[in-house]
Protein backbone atom coordinates (compact mmCIF):
# COMPACT_ATOMS: atom_id res chain seq x y z
CA UNK A 1 0.00 0.00 0.00
CA UNK A 2 1.45 3.40 -0.97
CA UNK A 3 1.63 6.32 1.51
CA UNK A 4 -1.12 8.11 -0.42
CA UNK A 5 -3.36 5.01 -0.26
CA UNK A 6 -2.70 4.65 3.48
CA UNK A 7 -3.66 8.31 4.05
CA UNK A 8 -6.82 7.78 1.99
CA UNK A 9 -7.73 4.67 4.02
CA UNK A 10 -7.13 6.48 7.35
CA UNK A 11 -9.17 9.48 6.22
CA UNK A 12 -12.06 7.28 5.05
CA UNK A 13 -12.00 5.40 8.40
CA UNK A 14 -12.17 8.68 10.34
CA UNK A 15 -15.01 9.97 8.13
CA UNK A 16 -16.87 6.66 8.52
CA UNK A 17 -16.42 6.76 12.32
CA UNK A 18 -17.76 10.32 12.50
CA UNK A 19 -20.64 9.83 10.05
CA UNK A 20 -21.71 6.44 11.40
CA UNK A 21 -22.47 7.96 14.78
CA UNK A 22 -25.90 6.61 15.72
CA UNK A 23 -28.85 8.96 15.76
CA UNK A 24 -29.49 8.62 19.47
CA UNK A 25 -26.30 8.79 21.48
CA UNK A 26 -27.45 9.28 25.03
CA UNK A 27 -25.30 8.87 28.10
CA UNK A 28 -23.90 5.36 28.05
CA UNK A 29 -26.58 3.17 29.58
CA UNK A 30 -26.17 -0.60 29.33
CA UNK A 31 -29.42 -1.82 27.85
CA UNK A 32 -31.91 -4.13 29.50
CA UNK A 33 -30.95 -7.82 29.37
CA UNK A 34 -27.45 -7.23 28.02
CA UNK A 35 -25.46 -8.47 31.05
CA UNK A 36 -25.39 -12.09 32.30
CA UNK A 37 -27.17 -12.68 35.67
CA UNK A 38 -23.95 -13.03 37.74
CA UNK A 39 -22.74 -9.59 36.59
CA UNK A 40 -26.12 -7.97 37.28
CA UNK A 41 -25.99 -9.27 40.86
CA UNK A 42 -22.31 -8.41 41.38
CA UNK A 43 -22.61 -4.78 40.19
CA UNK A 44 -25.81 -4.35 42.19
CA UNK A 45 -24.09 -5.68 45.32
CA UNK A 46 -21.18 -3.29 44.77
CA UNK A 47 -23.60 -0.34 44.77
CA UNK A 48 -25.37 -1.35 47.99
CA UNK A 49 -22.95 0.19 50.56
CA UNK A 50 -23.02 3.54 48.74
CA UNK A 51 -26.80 3.48 48.52
CA UNK A 52 -27.20 2.48 52.17
CA UNK A 53 -24.92 5.36 53.22
CA UNK A 54 -26.89 7.74 50.98
CA UNK A 55 -30.29 6.64 52.29
CA UNK A 56 -29.13 6.90 55.93
CA UNK A 57 -27.74 10.40 55.47
CA UNK A 58 -30.80 11.61 53.52
CA UNK A 59 -33.12 10.17 56.17
CA UNK A 60 -31.16 11.96 58.92
CA UNK A 61 -31.16 15.20 56.99
CA UNK A 62 -34.89 15.15 56.21
CA UNK A 63 -35.70 14.41 59.86
CA UNK A 64 -33.70 17.47 60.93
CA UNK A 65 -34.91 19.70 58.10
CA UNK A 66 -38.09 18.67 56.35
CA UNK A 67 -37.63 21.18 53.51
CA UNK A 68 -34.56 19.25 52.36
CA UNK A 69 -36.80 16.45 51.08
CA UNK A 70 -38.40 18.85 48.60
CA UNK A 71 -35.06 20.39 47.60
CA UNK A 72 -33.55 16.95 47.00
CA UNK A 73 -36.63 15.88 45.01
CA UNK A 74 -36.30 18.98 42.85
CA UNK A 75 -32.60 18.19 42.42
CA UNK A 76 -33.49 14.65 41.29
CA UNK A 77 -36.09 15.96 38.86
CA UNK A 78 -33.48 18.41 37.52
CA UNK A 79 -30.95 15.59 36.94
CA UNK A 80 -33.68 13.62 35.10
CA UNK A 81 -34.69 16.61 32.98
CA UNK A 82 -31.16 17.56 31.89
CA UNK A 83 -30.38 13.91 31.12
CA UNK A 84 -33.47 13.68 28.91
CA UNK A 85 -33.12 16.96 27.01
CA UNK A 86 -31.09 17.19 23.83
CA UNK A 87 -27.86 19.18 24.02
CA UNK A 88 -25.87 20.74 21.15
CA UNK A 89 -23.38 18.23 19.76
CA UNK A 90 -20.49 18.53 17.33
CA UNK A 91 -21.14 15.13 15.74
CA UNK A 92 -24.71 16.02 14.82
CA UNK A 93 -26.06 13.16 16.92
CA UNK A 94 -28.81 13.48 19.49
CA UNK A 95 -26.79 13.64 22.72
CA UNK A 96 -27.82 13.89 26.35
CA UNK A 97 -25.92 14.82 29.52
CA UNK A 98 -25.50 12.37 32.40
CA UNK A 99 -26.14 15.24 34.83
CA UNK A 100 -24.62 13.32 37.72
CA UNK A 101 -21.36 15.30 37.60
CA UNK A 102 -23.29 18.51 38.19
CA UNK A 103 -25.28 16.67 40.86
CA UNK A 104 -22.06 15.64 42.66
CA UNK A 105 -20.72 19.22 42.60
CA UNK A 106 -23.98 20.75 43.87
CA UNK A 107 -25.39 18.06 46.19
CA UNK A 108 -22.42 15.81 47.14
CA UNK A 109 -21.86 12.10 46.47
CA UNK A 110 -24.29 10.45 48.99
CA UNK A 111 -27.31 12.39 47.71
CA UNK A 112 -26.26 11.97 44.07
CA UNK A 113 -25.93 8.19 44.43
CA UNK A 114 -29.51 7.82 45.75
CA UNK A 115 -30.95 10.40 43.34
CA UNK A 116 -28.95 8.78 40.52
CA UNK A 117 -30.50 5.37 41.15
CA UNK A 118 -34.04 6.82 41.28
CA UNK A 119 -33.34 8.75 38.07
CA UNK A 120 -31.97 5.60 36.38
CA UNK A 121 -35.16 3.69 37.28
CA UNK A 122 -37.21 6.58 35.86
CA UNK A 123 -35.08 6.65 32.71
CA UNK A 124 -35.62 2.91 32.23
CA UNK A 125 -39.38 3.10 32.77
CA UNK A 126 -40.13 6.47 31.15
CA UNK A 127 -37.48 6.87 28.45
CA UNK A 128 -36.34 3.30 27.68
CA UNK A 129 -32.73 4.27 28.52
CA UNK A 130 -30.99 1.49 30.48
CA UNK A 131 -32.93 -1.22 32.27
CA UNK A 132 -33.92 -2.90 35.51
CA UNK A 133 -31.55 -5.91 35.37
CA UNK A 134 -28.66 -3.62 34.40
CA UNK A 135 -29.57 -1.06 37.07
CA UNK A 136 -26.66 -2.10 39.33
CA UNK A 137 -24.06 -1.76 36.58
CA UNK A 138 -25.48 1.55 35.33
CA UNK A 139 -25.78 2.88 38.88
CA UNK A 140 -22.15 2.01 39.59
CA UNK A 141 -20.83 3.78 36.50
CA UNK A 142 -23.18 6.81 36.45
CA UNK A 143 -24.31 7.37 40.02
CA UNK A 144 -21.19 6.28 41.93
CA UNK A 145 -17.89 6.08 39.97
CA UNK A 146 -18.39 9.24 37.84
CA UNK A 147 -19.75 11.45 40.67
CA UNK A 148 -17.02 10.21 43.07
CA UNK A 149 -14.25 11.26 40.67
CA UNK A 150 -15.98 14.56 39.89
CA UNK A 151 -16.41 15.29 43.60
CA UNK A 152 -12.80 14.32 44.48
CA UNK A 153 -11.35 16.45 41.66
CA UNK A 154 -13.64 19.37 42.49
CA UNK A 155 -12.64 19.41 46.18
CA UNK A 156 -8.94 18.90 45.36
CA UNK A 157 -9.04 21.72 42.80
CA UNK A 158 -10.70 24.11 45.24
CA UNK A 159 -8.13 23.27 47.93
CA UNK A 160 -5.29 23.92 45.49
CA UNK A 161 -6.96 27.28 44.69
CA UNK A 162 -7.38 26.54 40.99
CA UNK A 163 -10.01 28.91 39.45
CA UNK A 164 -13.47 27.49 40.28
CA UNK A 165 -14.88 27.39 36.75
CA UNK A 166 -11.80 25.57 35.42
CA UNK A 167 -12.13 23.00 38.23
CA UNK A 168 -15.83 22.53 37.47
CA UNK A 169 -15.09 21.99 33.75
CA UNK A 170 -12.25 19.51 34.28
CA UNK A 171 -13.97 17.54 37.06
CA UNK A 172 -17.29 17.23 35.18
CA UNK A 173 -15.52 16.24 31.95
CA UNK A 174 -13.28 13.63 33.60
CA UNK A 175 -16.21 12.29 35.65
CA UNK A 176 -18.13 11.77 32.40
CA UNK A 177 -15.11 10.12 30.77
CA UNK A 178 -14.75 7.78 33.75
CA UNK A 179 -18.42 6.81 33.41
CA UNK A 180 -17.77 5.90 29.76
CA UNK A 181 -14.58 3.95 30.63
CA UNK A 182 -16.28 2.06 33.49
CA UNK A 183 -19.21 1.14 31.23
CA UNK A 184 -16.82 -0.16 28.56
CA UNK A 185 -14.98 -2.16 31.23
CA UNK A 186 -18.26 -3.58 32.54
CA UNK A 187 -19.18 -4.71 29.03
CA UNK A 188 -15.70 -6.14 28.42
CA UNK A 189 -15.69 -8.06 31.73
CA UNK A 190 -19.00 -9.63 30.79
CA UNK A 191 -17.97 -10.42 27.21
CA UNK A 192 -14.17 -10.78 26.84
CA UNK A 193 -12.78 -11.07 23.32
CA UNK A 194 -11.87 -14.66 22.29
CA UNK A 195 -8.58 -13.45 20.77
CA UNK A 196 -7.39 -10.79 23.24
CA UNK A 197 -9.40 -11.22 26.46
CA UNK A 198 -10.89 -8.43 28.58
CA UNK A 199 -8.32 -5.79 27.52
CA UNK A 200 -8.97 -6.25 23.79
CA UNK A 201 -12.72 -6.28 24.33
CA UNK A 202 -12.54 -3.11 26.48
CA UNK A 203 -10.56 -1.40 23.70
CA UNK A 204 -13.20 -2.44 21.16
CA UNK A 205 -16.06 -1.06 23.25
CA UNK A 206 -14.09 2.15 23.97
CA UNK A 207 -13.42 2.57 20.24
CA UNK A 208 -17.03 1.94 19.17
CA UNK A 209 -18.50 4.48 21.59
CA UNK A 210 -15.63 7.02 21.41
CA UNK A 211 -16.99 9.11 18.48
CA UNK A 212 -20.02 10.10 20.55
CA UNK A 213 -18.73 9.92 24.12
CA UNK A 214 -15.50 11.95 23.81
CA UNK A 215 -17.14 15.11 22.39
CA UNK A 216 -20.04 14.55 24.79
CA UNK A 217 -17.68 14.60 27.80
CA UNK A 218 -16.18 17.94 26.69
CA UNK A 219 -19.67 19.39 26.09
CA UNK A 220 -20.87 18.12 29.47
CA UNK A 221 -17.88 19.87 31.10
CA UNK A 222 -18.64 23.15 29.30
CA UNK A 223 -22.36 23.07 30.12
CA UNK A 224 -21.74 22.14 33.77
CA UNK A 225 -19.36 25.11 34.01
CA UNK A 226 -21.96 27.44 32.44
CA UNK A 227 -24.72 26.13 34.75
CA UNK A 228 -22.57 26.80 37.84
CA UNK A 229 -21.77 30.26 36.44
CA UNK A 230 -25.47 30.94 35.80
CA UNK A 231 -26.48 29.69 39.26
CA UNK A 232 -23.94 31.93 40.96
CA UNK A 233 -25.45 34.96 39.27
CA UNK A 234 -29.17 34.15 39.75
CA UNK A 235 -29.46 31.78 42.72
CA UNK A 236 -26.96 32.73 45.44
CA UNK A 237 -29.38 32.12 48.40
CA UNK A 238 -30.41 28.69 47.05
CA UNK A 239 -26.74 27.73 46.57
CA UNK A 240 -25.98 28.67 50.19
CA UNK A 241 -28.92 26.54 51.34
CA UNK A 242 -27.65 23.63 49.21
CA UNK A 243 -24.16 23.99 50.64
CA UNK A 244 -25.57 23.74 54.19
CA UNK A 245 -27.60 20.62 53.24
CA UNK A 246 -24.60 19.05 51.52
CA UNK A 247 -22.39 19.62 54.57
CA UNK A 248 -24.95 17.90 56.80
CA UNK A 249 -25.17 14.99 54.34
CA UNK A 250 -21.41 14.42 54.27
CA UNK A 251 -20.94 14.88 58.06
Amino acid sequence: MTAREKKFLCLSTVIAAVLCVPGAAFAMHIMEGYLPPAYCVAWGALCLPFLAAGVISIRRLTRERRKSLLLLAMAGAFVFVISSLKIPSVTGSCSHMTGTGLGAILFGVPATSVLGVIVLVFQALLLAHGGLTTLGANAFSMAIAGPLLTWALYRAGLRLRVPKLAVVFVSAMLGDLLTYCVTSLQLALAYPSPSGGVAASALEFLAVFAPTQLPLAVIEGIITMLVVMGLESVAKPELRELERARRRLTE
Binding site: G23, G33, P37, L71, K86, I219, I223, L226, G230
Partner: protein, 302 residues
Protein backbone atom coordinates in the same frame (compact mmCIF):
# COMPACT_ATOMS: atom_id res chain seq x y z
CA UNK B 1 -28.80 4.92 10.53
CA UNK B 2 -30.52 2.34 12.75
CA UNK B 3 -31.73 0.54 9.63
CA UNK B 4 -28.17 0.43 8.23
CA UNK B 5 -26.76 -0.79 11.56
CA UNK B 6 -29.46 -3.47 11.72
CA UNK B 7 -28.62 -4.73 8.24
CA UNK B 8 -24.85 -4.86 8.99
CA UNK B 9 -25.34 -6.59 12.37
CA UNK B 10 -27.75 -9.16 10.96
CA UNK B 11 -25.46 -9.82 7.98
CA UNK B 12 -22.57 -10.46 10.41
CA UNK B 13 -24.81 -12.63 12.58
CA UNK B 14 -26.18 -14.91 9.84
CA UNK B 15 -23.30 -14.90 7.27
CA UNK B 16 -22.24 -18.48 6.48
CA UNK B 17 -25.35 -19.91 8.13
CA UNK B 18 -28.04 -18.98 5.61
CA UNK B 19 -28.26 -19.19 1.81
CA UNK B 20 -27.83 -15.83 0.00
CA UNK B 21 -31.56 -15.11 -0.58
CA UNK B 22 -32.81 -15.89 2.97
CA UNK B 23 -29.74 -14.02 4.28
CA UNK B 24 -30.61 -10.90 2.26
CA UNK B 25 -34.25 -11.15 3.35
CA UNK B 26 -33.35 -11.57 7.05
CA UNK B 27 -31.08 -8.50 6.84
CA UNK B 28 -33.33 -6.22 4.83
CA UNK B 29 -36.77 -6.90 6.31
CA UNK B 30 -35.95 -6.04 9.97
CA UNK B 31 -33.88 -3.08 8.71
CA UNK B 32 -36.88 -1.82 6.71
CA UNK B 33 -39.02 -1.94 9.87
CA UNK B 34 -36.81 0.75 11.42
CA UNK B 35 -37.33 2.99 8.40
CA UNK B 36 -41.06 3.25 9.18
CA UNK B 37 -40.80 5.59 12.19
CA UNK B 38 -37.79 7.45 10.71
CA UNK B 39 -37.92 11.19 11.14
CA UNK B 40 -40.88 11.03 13.49
CA UNK B 41 -39.13 10.11 16.73
CA UNK B 42 -38.68 13.16 18.93
CA UNK B 43 -36.70 13.85 22.10
CA UNK B 44 -37.42 16.41 24.77
CA UNK B 45 -41.17 16.33 24.21
CA UNK B 46 -41.83 14.69 27.58
CA UNK B 47 -41.92 11.01 28.47
CA UNK B 48 -43.89 9.29 25.68
CA UNK B 49 -43.95 6.02 27.63
CA UNK B 50 -45.85 7.61 30.51
CA UNK B 51 -48.59 8.78 28.15
CA UNK B 52 -48.73 5.30 26.53
CA UNK B 53 -49.00 3.64 29.97
CA UNK B 54 -51.92 5.85 30.98
CA UNK B 55 -53.72 5.17 27.67
CA UNK B 56 -53.13 1.40 27.79
CA UNK B 57 -56.03 -0.92 28.53
CA UNK B 58 -53.64 -3.00 30.63
CA UNK B 59 -53.36 -0.08 33.07
CA UNK B 60 -56.65 -1.24 34.61
CA UNK B 61 -54.88 -4.34 35.93
CA UNK B 62 -53.12 -4.69 39.29
CA UNK B 63 -49.68 -3.02 39.19
CA UNK B 64 -48.04 -5.29 41.80
CA UNK B 65 -48.85 -8.48 39.87
CA UNK B 66 -47.69 -6.95 36.58
CA UNK B 67 -44.42 -5.79 38.19
CA UNK B 68 -43.75 -9.15 39.91
CA UNK B 69 -44.59 -11.11 36.71
CA UNK B 70 -42.43 -8.87 34.51
CA UNK B 71 -39.46 -9.01 36.89
CA UNK B 72 -39.68 -12.80 37.09
CA UNK B 73 -39.83 -13.05 33.30
CA UNK B 74 -36.89 -10.63 33.04
CA UNK B 75 -34.75 -12.80 35.31
CA UNK B 76 -35.72 -15.97 33.41
CA UNK B 77 -34.94 -14.20 30.16
CA UNK B 78 -31.35 -13.35 31.09
CA UNK B 79 -30.84 -16.86 32.55
CA UNK B 80 -31.82 -18.52 29.27
CA UNK B 81 -29.12 -20.63 27.61
CA UNK B 82 -30.92 -20.74 24.27
CA UNK B 83 -32.01 -17.78 22.11
CA UNK B 84 -35.49 -19.20 21.40
CA UNK B 85 -37.33 -18.72 24.73
CA UNK B 86 -36.47 -14.98 24.97
CA UNK B 87 -37.35 -14.40 21.31
CA UNK B 88 -40.72 -16.15 21.69
CA UNK B 89 -41.34 -14.22 24.91
CA UNK B 90 -40.63 -10.94 23.10
CA UNK B 91 -43.18 -11.86 20.37
CA UNK B 92 -45.75 -12.89 23.00
CA UNK B 93 -45.35 -9.78 25.20
CA UNK B 94 -45.24 -7.44 22.18
CA UNK B 95 -48.49 -9.03 21.00
CA UNK B 96 -50.07 -8.54 24.44
CA UNK B 97 -48.88 -4.91 24.62
CA UNK B 98 -50.16 -4.11 21.13
CA UNK B 99 -53.38 -6.17 21.03
CA UNK B 100 -54.59 -6.14 24.64
CA UNK B 101 -53.01 -2.85 25.74
CA UNK B 102 -53.81 -1.19 22.38
CA UNK B 103 -50.46 0.62 22.31
CA UNK B 104 -50.00 2.20 18.89
CA UNK B 105 -47.63 0.10 16.71
CA UNK B 106 -45.85 3.25 15.54
CA UNK B 107 -45.12 4.30 19.15
CA UNK B 108 -43.92 0.79 20.00
CA UNK B 109 -41.61 0.57 16.99
CA UNK B 110 -40.33 4.07 17.57
CA UNK B 111 -39.48 3.19 21.18
CA UNK B 112 -37.69 0.03 20.03
CA UNK B 113 -35.19 2.12 18.00
CA UNK B 114 -33.68 3.47 21.26
CA UNK B 115 -32.36 0.16 22.67
CA UNK B 116 -31.77 -1.10 19.12
CA UNK B 117 -28.90 1.36 18.53
CA UNK B 118 -27.05 0.28 21.67
CA UNK B 119 -27.74 -3.41 21.10
CA UNK B 120 -26.62 -3.35 17.47
CA UNK B 121 -23.42 -1.41 18.17
CA UNK B 122 -22.58 -3.77 21.04
CA UNK B 123 -23.44 -6.80 18.90
CA UNK B 124 -20.99 -5.59 16.25
CA UNK B 125 -18.19 -5.47 18.87
CA UNK B 126 -19.10 -9.00 19.98
CA UNK B 127 -19.20 -10.28 16.40
CA UNK B 128 -16.09 -8.69 14.89
CA UNK B 129 -12.64 -9.40 16.33
CA UNK B 130 -9.17 -8.33 15.25
CA UNK B 131 -6.72 -11.10 14.31
CA UNK B 132 -3.09 -10.73 13.13
CA UNK B 133 -3.60 -13.66 10.67
CA UNK B 134 -6.72 -14.55 8.72
CA UNK B 135 -8.49 -17.11 11.00
CA UNK B 136 -9.56 -20.45 9.53
CA UNK B 137 -13.32 -21.05 9.33
CA UNK B 138 -14.27 -17.36 9.63
CA UNK B 139 -17.79 -16.58 8.40
CA UNK B 140 -16.72 -13.09 7.26
CA UNK B 141 -13.30 -11.42 7.12
CA UNK B 142 -11.91 -8.11 5.86
CA UNK B 143 -8.30 -6.84 5.82
CA UNK B 144 -7.73 -4.12 8.41
CA UNK B 145 -4.46 -2.25 9.13
CA UNK B 146 -2.12 -5.18 8.52
CA UNK B 147 -4.38 -7.75 10.19
CA UNK B 148 -7.88 -9.08 9.73
CA UNK B 149 -11.27 -8.21 11.16
CA UNK B 150 -13.24 -11.46 11.21
CA UNK B 151 -16.49 -12.98 12.43
CA UNK B 152 -16.09 -16.48 13.89
CA UNK B 153 -18.99 -18.96 14.20
CA UNK B 154 -18.48 -18.99 18.03
CA UNK B 155 -18.87 -15.18 18.11
CA UNK B 156 -22.05 -15.49 16.01
CA UNK B 157 -23.51 -17.92 18.55
CA UNK B 158 -22.61 -15.72 21.53
CA UNK B 159 -23.87 -12.53 19.87
CA UNK B 160 -27.09 -14.29 18.83
CA UNK B 161 -27.73 -15.43 22.40
CA UNK B 162 -26.91 -12.02 23.90
CA UNK B 163 -29.11 -10.21 21.36
CA UNK B 164 -31.99 -12.65 21.93
CA UNK B 165 -31.78 -12.26 25.72
CA UNK B 166 -31.66 -8.48 25.41
CA UNK B 167 -34.60 -8.40 22.97
CA UNK B 168 -36.66 -10.61 25.31
CA UNK B 169 -35.75 -8.45 28.30
CA UNK B 170 -36.69 -5.27 26.42
CA UNK B 171 -40.04 -6.91 25.65
CA UNK B 172 -40.59 -7.53 29.40
CA UNK B 173 -39.56 -3.97 30.29
CA UNK B 174 -41.86 -2.46 27.67
CA UNK B 175 -44.74 -4.70 28.74
CA UNK B 176 -44.37 -3.26 32.25
CA UNK B 177 -43.61 0.36 31.45
CA UNK B 178 -46.17 0.69 28.63
CA UNK B 179 -48.97 -0.74 30.77
CA UNK B 180 -48.34 0.66 34.25
CA UNK B 181 -48.22 4.35 35.20
CA UNK B 182 -45.17 5.10 37.34
CA UNK B 183 -47.06 6.27 40.49
CA UNK B 184 -48.70 2.83 40.68
CA UNK B 185 -45.29 1.14 40.49
CA UNK B 186 -44.01 3.42 43.26
CA UNK B 187 -47.02 2.46 45.37
CA UNK B 188 -46.17 -1.21 44.75
CA UNK B 189 -42.55 -0.47 45.78
CA UNK B 190 -43.81 1.10 49.01
CA UNK B 191 -45.83 -2.03 49.74
CA UNK B 192 -42.70 -4.10 49.06
CA UNK B 193 -40.99 -2.24 51.98
CA UNK B 194 -38.63 -0.07 49.95
CA UNK B 195 -37.46 2.66 52.44
CA UNK B 196 -40.12 5.36 52.79
CA UNK B 197 -37.63 8.17 52.22
CA UNK B 198 -36.73 6.68 48.80
CA UNK B 199 -40.36 6.20 47.67
CA UNK B 200 -41.32 9.70 48.92
CA UNK B 201 -38.38 11.16 47.00
CA UNK B 202 -39.34 9.17 43.90
CA UNK B 203 -42.99 10.30 44.04
CA UNK B 204 -41.93 13.95 44.46
CA UNK B 205 -39.36 13.65 41.65
CA UNK B 206 -42.08 12.24 39.38
CA UNK B 207 -44.36 15.18 40.15
CA UNK B 208 -41.62 17.80 39.75
CA UNK B 209 -40.16 16.48 36.54
CA UNK B 210 -43.23 17.47 34.53
CA UNK B 211 -43.10 20.99 36.02
CA UNK B 212 -39.42 21.24 35.13
CA UNK B 213 -39.90 19.79 31.63
CA UNK B 214 -42.60 22.37 30.99
CA UNK B 215 -40.42 25.19 32.35
CA UNK B 216 -37.45 23.96 30.29
CA UNK B 217 -39.57 23.87 27.12
CA UNK B 218 -40.79 27.45 27.69
CA UNK B 219 -37.26 28.72 28.33
CA UNK B 220 -35.83 26.86 25.33
CA UNK B 221 -38.52 28.24 23.02
CA UNK B 222 -37.93 31.76 24.37
CA UNK B 223 -34.17 31.43 23.81
CA UNK B 224 -34.72 29.90 20.38
CA UNK B 225 -36.98 32.76 19.29
CA UNK B 226 -34.14 35.15 20.22
CA UNK B 227 -31.70 33.11 18.05
CA UNK B 228 -29.99 31.72 21.15
CA UNK B 229 -29.18 28.41 19.45
CA UNK B 230 -27.39 29.76 16.36
CA UNK B 231 -23.93 28.19 16.18
CA UNK B 232 -22.33 25.71 18.57
CA UNK B 233 -20.70 28.31 20.84
CA UNK B 234 -23.89 30.29 21.37
CA UNK B 235 -25.94 27.08 21.74
CA UNK B 236 -23.70 25.83 24.54
CA UNK B 237 -23.85 29.17 26.35
CA UNK B 238 -27.65 29.32 26.03
CA UNK B 239 -28.04 25.70 27.21
CA UNK B 240 -25.90 26.41 30.30
CA UNK B 241 -27.86 29.56 31.14
CA UNK B 242 -31.22 27.84 30.59
CA UNK B 243 -30.24 24.92 32.85
CA UNK B 244 -28.89 27.23 35.59
CA UNK B 245 -32.05 29.34 35.46
CA UNK B 246 -34.18 26.19 35.48
CA UNK B 247 -32.57 24.87 38.67
CA UNK B 248 -32.96 28.22 40.42
CA UNK B 249 -36.63 28.32 39.33
CA UNK B 250 -37.05 24.72 40.55
CA UNK B 251 -35.69 25.49 44.01
CA UNK B 252 -37.95 28.54 44.35
CA UNK B 253 -40.89 26.38 43.33
CA UNK B 254 -39.90 23.70 45.88
CA UNK B 255 -39.68 26.43 48.56
CA UNK B 256 -43.19 27.64 47.72
CA UNK B 257 -44.42 24.03 47.77
CA UNK B 258 -42.88 23.51 51.20
CA UNK B 259 -44.61 26.63 52.57
CA UNK B 260 -47.95 25.34 51.23
CA UNK B 261 -47.34 21.90 52.78
CA UNK B 262 -46.32 23.40 56.14
CA UNK B 263 -49.53 25.41 56.25
CA UNK B 264 -51.41 22.12 55.73
CA UNK B 265 -49.76 20.42 58.77
CA UNK B 266 -46.94 18.60 56.92
CA UNK B 267 -45.25 16.23 59.40
CA UNK B 268 -42.59 14.77 57.12
CA UNK B 269 -44.80 11.92 55.84
CA UNK B 270 -46.47 12.30 52.46
CA UNK B 271 -49.67 10.28 51.98
CA UNK B 272 -50.81 9.69 48.40
CA UNK B 273 -54.16 8.20 47.53
CA UNK B 274 -54.29 5.37 45.00
CA UNK B 275 -57.22 3.63 43.40
CA UNK B 276 -57.33 -0.07 44.43
CA UNK B 277 -57.12 -2.46 41.48
CA UNK B 278 -58.06 -6.07 42.22
CA UNK B 279 -56.07 -8.97 40.80
CA UNK B 280 -58.04 -10.38 37.85
CA UNK B 281 -58.09 -13.99 36.66
CA UNK B 282 -57.29 -12.96 33.07
CA UNK B 283 -54.04 -11.26 34.15
CA UNK B 284 -53.01 -14.39 36.07
CA UNK B 285 -54.00 -16.53 33.07
CA UNK B 286 -51.73 -14.36 30.95
CA UNK B 287 -48.69 -14.27 33.24
CA UNK B 288 -48.63 -17.71 34.89
CA UNK B 289 -48.44 -19.76 31.64
CA UNK B 290 -45.78 -17.34 30.33
CA UNK B 291 -43.68 -17.81 33.49
CA UNK B 292 -44.19 -21.61 33.40
CA UNK B 293 -43.25 -21.79 29.69
CA UNK B 294 -40.14 -19.64 30.23
CA UNK B 295 -39.09 -21.75 33.22
CA UNK B 296 -39.49 -24.93 31.17
CA UNK B 297 -37.59 -23.34 28.27
CA UNK B 298 -34.72 -22.20 30.51
CA UNK B 299 -34.43 -25.60 32.24
CA UNK B 300 -34.83 -27.81 29.17
CA UNK B 301 -32.94 -25.84 26.49
CA UNK B 302 -29.55 -25.47 28.17
Amino acid sequence: MTALLTAIALLSLFAGRLAPIPLAASCLLPAALFLLPAGRHRHGGGPVMDACARRSRLSRENAGVKAAGSLLLLVLCICSGSPWPPLLLFCFLSGVTLLWGKTRPHDYLSLLTLPAVFLLLSALTLLWDFFPERPAGAALSVPFFGGWLAVLPASQELAGLVLARAVGAVGCLYFLSLSTPLPELLHAARRAHVPAVVTSLAVLIYRYLFLLLDAARTRRDAADSRLGYRGLRRSLRTTGLVYGNLLAHGFRRAGACYDAMESRCFTGEIAFLTRPKPVTARLLLLLLPAVAAMLAGVLLLR
